[in-house]
């Protein structure tokens, strides 16, 4: 379980988000949405503990994130990002194996049967088991994304956070990845995921966390968020809403419709 209390995040002293209060339950898939530069990635990194937050507190599993030692934190939360290139010639299994860092003491250099099982399970979950010995540099964008997600899964944490896992991917691969995350949440993990496509988020997430105007504008079920004015307030454009036969809403920028 993740709890954000009066949370503020900043970059270089400039406050991006203030007074964010939210609670994400185990087994929930929450999509974090908002315009570019609003602080989605910064918020996720602060929750993951890979950068400090400016105000308030982040509680994960009952303890404040900034009080946890790095290894303790990494056994509770995995953070998946795709914006960093590799310089070494690493194979898929090398990359995924690094996720097991927090499960070892510094003198335990060899992988254990538990490590092997976690790595194999993660590769199987993203359907990359056939690629385990392939060089990471030879993979396509979609395959790389799946490897990063496998790395997050191999960490075996109750919380999985992902920063734009579907960016640069075609609709088929994006669908597979989101369906996989949906499945991960169904197995009891908390999934917090930054997405850009509102309809993609609404189709897969249990709740949408909409950020804008330096605060949390809405945090509710997809239909409730898409139906409200917060969408227009966040993005600064008028939206057209379309209701699907099953009652779910979808939104489109009004200019794009006309």
């Amino acid at each position: 379980m993740i709890e954000l209390r009066d949370l503020g995040v900043a970059i270089d002293g400039r406050m991006l988000l203030r007074d964010v209060n939210a609670r994400v339950e185990p087994g929930e898939f929450v999509a974090v949405l908002g315009p570019n530069g609003v602080g989605k990635t910064t918020l996720l990194r602060a929750i993951a503990g890979v950068r400090p937050h400016a105000a308030g507190s982040i509680i994960v599993g009952g303890e404040a994130v900034d009080r946890l030692r790095p290894a303790q934190r990494a056994r509770r939360m995995a953070f998946v990002t795709s914006d960093d290139a590799l310089t070494d010639a690493l194979t898929v299994v090398d990359v995924v194996g690094i996720a097991r860092f927090a499960h070892h003491r510094w003198w335990e250099w060899s992988s254990t049967p538990q490590d092997e099982a976690a790595i194999e399970g993660a590769l199987r979950a993203v359907r990359m088991e056939a690629y385990r010995e392939r060089l990471f540099s030879t993979l396509s964008s979609g395959e790389r994304q799946r490897v990063w997600i496998a790395m997050g899964l191999a960490q075996e944490t109750p919380v999985l956070m992902l920063d734009e896992p579907t960016s640069h991917l075609d609709v088929r691969v994006a669908h597979k990845i989101l369906a996989l995350l949906r499945e991960v949440a169904r197995r009891g993990h908390t999934v917090l995921c930054v997405l850009h496509d509102l309809n993609e988020a609404a189709a897969y997430a249990d709740r949408l966390m909409l950020l804008g105007c330096d605060r949390l504008l809405a945090f509710d079920r997809p239909n409730a968020v898409l139906a409200g004015d917060a969408i227009e307030e966040a993005y600064g454009i008028e939206m057209e809403r379309v209701r699907l036969p099953d009652g779910r809403l979808r939104v489109f920028a009004r200019d794009a419709i006309l």
């Binding site: 990194r45 993951a48 503990g49 890979v50 030692r69 790095p70 290894a71 303790q72 934190r73 990494a74 056994r75 939360m77 995995a78 953070f79 998946v80 990002t81 960093d84 290139a85 590799l86 310089t87 070494d88 010639a89 690493l90 090398d94 990359v95 690094i98 996720a99 097991r100 860092f101 927090a102 070892h104 510094w106 250099w109 790395m151 960490q155």
Partner: protein, 326 residues
């Protein structure tokens, strides 16, 4: 992988054996074996083996392995293949201090110690300038290292232009070119504890180096204390580089190139990469020293010059050929 590592170790051992046999006065294998087995036996061969060649071999092993491991540590930490052990200003700081010490007439046996202290001091200054948050900023580290190196190089140039004695200039240039000539057990005894400490700290850094292969952010996410690891790596690499500078002056090429060669042989897993660098660096340094002592005997070629002349074209050939294949 272990087989490849054993191959590199065998290469270093072979180079060490070669170093015992060749030099100004070539020795027969049987005589060398006799001297090795009976060190107390008084003979010219025993003196050559135990007082001249053996300390040089040990120093070459320490210098070669220290520089190669320091290079691998910094390249891993900065994720920059151009990083070398002298990036933190160790060589420039030591050069400036030693140039002044020689000019001031400080006794030659004291200069390695002065070089060590000044080199380490410069590395600490560079690290302090690069400090950010709980760790160091890689870009700041590179900028601070380059800036201070330029400043200390200017000090060296100033001292050289002020020097009146040709002897002084020759003595200093020999140090700059990197040489093991005249180094004995005493020099090794002074530098070895620091080099050993650097190697031990490098062992502690192995898990961190492996985690850093996926970048700082991901390394943090998998539970690495990146700031603490950066300090550990910086201290280890500075101790190794400063020990090497104190022992042999500025020996280029090894710290930059050997990690690349070793990575091609054993991959980037630090558990095998660091030992591979140590064996490969030692082998190269031993071979260069043996050749430098032989080809213009009874005179000697500085090891740094020889490494650059032979090593750089060889490395470029191997590297470009491998690139073309892939």
């Amino acid at each position: 992988m272990l087989l490849r590592l054993a191959g590199l170790a065998a290469l270093a051992l072979l180079a060490a054996c070669g170093g015992l046999l060749v030099g100004g006065s070539p020795l027969a294998t049987a005589d060398v074996m006799q001297a090795l087995l009976h060190p107390a036996h008084a003979s010219a061969v025993t003196t050559i083996v135990w007082q001249l060649r053996m300390p040089r071999i040990c120093i070459a092993i320490v210098v070669g392995s220290s520089l190669a491991v320091a290079g691998a540590l910094l390249q891993g930490m900065l994720r920059n293949p151009l990083a070398d052990p002298y990036l933190t200003g160790v060589s420039a700081g030591a050069a400036a201090a030693i140039s002044i010490a020689i000019l001031a007439g400080v006794a030659p046996p004291l200069t390695p110690g002065i070089g060590f202290v000044a080199g380490l001091g410069t590395a600490i200054l560079v690290a302090a300038l690069a400090r950010r948050g709980g760790g160091v900023d890689p870009n700041r580290l590179i900028l601070a290292g380059i800036s201070l190196s330029a400043l200390f190089s200017a000090v060296v140039a100033l001292v050289l232009t002020r020097a009146q004695s040709v002897d002084y200039v020759q003595q200093f240039i020999a140090w700059l070119a990197g040489s093991l000539a005249g180094r004995g057990w005493h020099a090794l005894a002074v530098a070895l504890p620091y080099a050993t400490l650097g190697m031990l700290l490098a062992l502690f850094a192995i898990p961190a180096l492996n985690a850093l292969r996926v970048g700082d952010v991901r390394a943090r996410a998998v539970g690495l204390d990146v700031g603490r690891s950066q300090w550990l790596i910086l201290i280890a690499s500075s101790l190794l580089a400063a020990s090497s500078v104190a022992l042999a002056g500025i020996v280029g090429f090894i710290g930059l190139i050997v990690p690349h060669l070793a990575r091609r042989v054993v991959g980037s897993d630090a558990r095998v990469l660091l030992p591979a660098c140590a064996f490969c660096g030692a082998a190269l340094c031993l071979a260069a020293d043996a050749i430098g002592r032989t080809i213009v005997a009874p005179s000697e070629l500085p090891i740094g010059v020889l490494l650059a002349f032979i090593g750089v074209p060889t490395f470029l050939y191997l590297y470009l050929r491998a690139e073309a294949r892939t």
